[in-house]
């Protein structure tokens, strides 16, 4: 009973803030609503028996990624989005397509699993020990590759967002040496 109430609270919070993310005009408000969505999803992770993933979600996603979003929004001074003059057919098509997707997924889930409840979880499942052991034995290669991917992403981000170097002056001197 309590569990159902907690689930409903966090589910409503997640859906509500997701709608704000998608619908609000001001990108800063969208970003802050995404924070609320992510924290609600982290709470749902805990309810599903994954406390480690929940802490990682809050630590990485809300603690770093969304902060990065916020920085970019503020540094680039991205203002409120003006209402578009046209595009209603596009919006209607997008809405209908999304609803069709939702209908398909819902039908598939309900058909496959029905509404049955699950057995309670063993202590082993919730602990981080088994997760860590599996991660560093079966998935070690993936782990290393993801580390490499992150390194490449850091280099790429630094290069892309860094200050563009001025081209050299015609007489071969670099710009800062000229004046």
């Amino acid at each position: 009973m309590l569990e159902t109430a907690v689930f409903v609270v966090f589910a409503l919070l997640a859906v509500g803030s997701a709608l704000v993310v998608v619908l609000h005009r001001n990108p800063v408000y969208s970003t802050m609503s995404l924070v609320v969505t992510l924290v609600a999803i982290a709470a749902l992770f805990v309810m599903l028996g994954a406390p480690f993933i929940a802490s990682l979600q809050v630590l990485i996603y809300t603690g770093a990624i969304v902060v990065l979003f916020l920085f970019v929004v503020m540094l680039l001074n991205i203002g409120r989005e003006e209402a578009s003059q046209r595009g209603l057919p596009q919006k209607v098509a997008a809405g209908l397509g999304s609803l069709a997707l939702l209908g398909f997924l819902a039908a598939a889930y309900l058909r496959l699993y029905g509404g049955a409840a699950q057995a309670p979880l063993s202590e082993d499942f919730v602990s981080m020990r088994t997760l860590a052991l599996e991660l560093f034995t079966d998935y070690l290669l993936t782990f290393e590759l993801v580390g490499l991917l992150l390194l490449v992403a850091v280099i790429a981000a630094t290069v892309l967002a860094g200050k563009p170097k001025d081209p050299p002056e015609p007489d071969g001197k670099r710009p800062e040496e000229v004046a």
Partner: protein, 100 residues
């Protein structure tokens, strides 16, 4: 006890909202946020399945999805900054030099 199906349906709903946002909005940042929402709904689906099948593989995949999302967010935002420097706008309808 909450049936796991409810979590799956919630994740599907969040995915739908994210898709609708990514298809409809013009502001680049909001589209990016919608994509992050979709990624999160996928994470929720994976953890729900991990619970359903009593297998921790789902959680490990979520771990990697989290890392990949971080890398993608970093590079994507760097791209935004680079594009903004040249075009002075993030409105995706105006960044259309490659459109035929």
């Amino acid at each position: 006890m909450v049936p796991v199906t409810w979590y799956l349906l919630l994740a599907a709903l969040l995915f739908t909202i994210g898709t609708a946002g990514a298809l409809t909005r013009r502001n680049g940042i909001t589209i990016f946020l919608s994509i992050e929402l979709m990624l999160n709904s996928v994470n929720l689906t994976l953890v729900a399945y991990s619970r359903l099948l009593e297998d921790q593989t789902g959680q490990i995949v979520v771990f990697f999805v989290l890392a990949v999302a971080a890398a993608e967010a970093a590079v994507g935002l760097a791209l935004f900054i680079a594009v903004y420097r040249h075009r002075r706008t993030i409105d995706l309808n105006r960044i259309n030099l490659l459109r035929w």
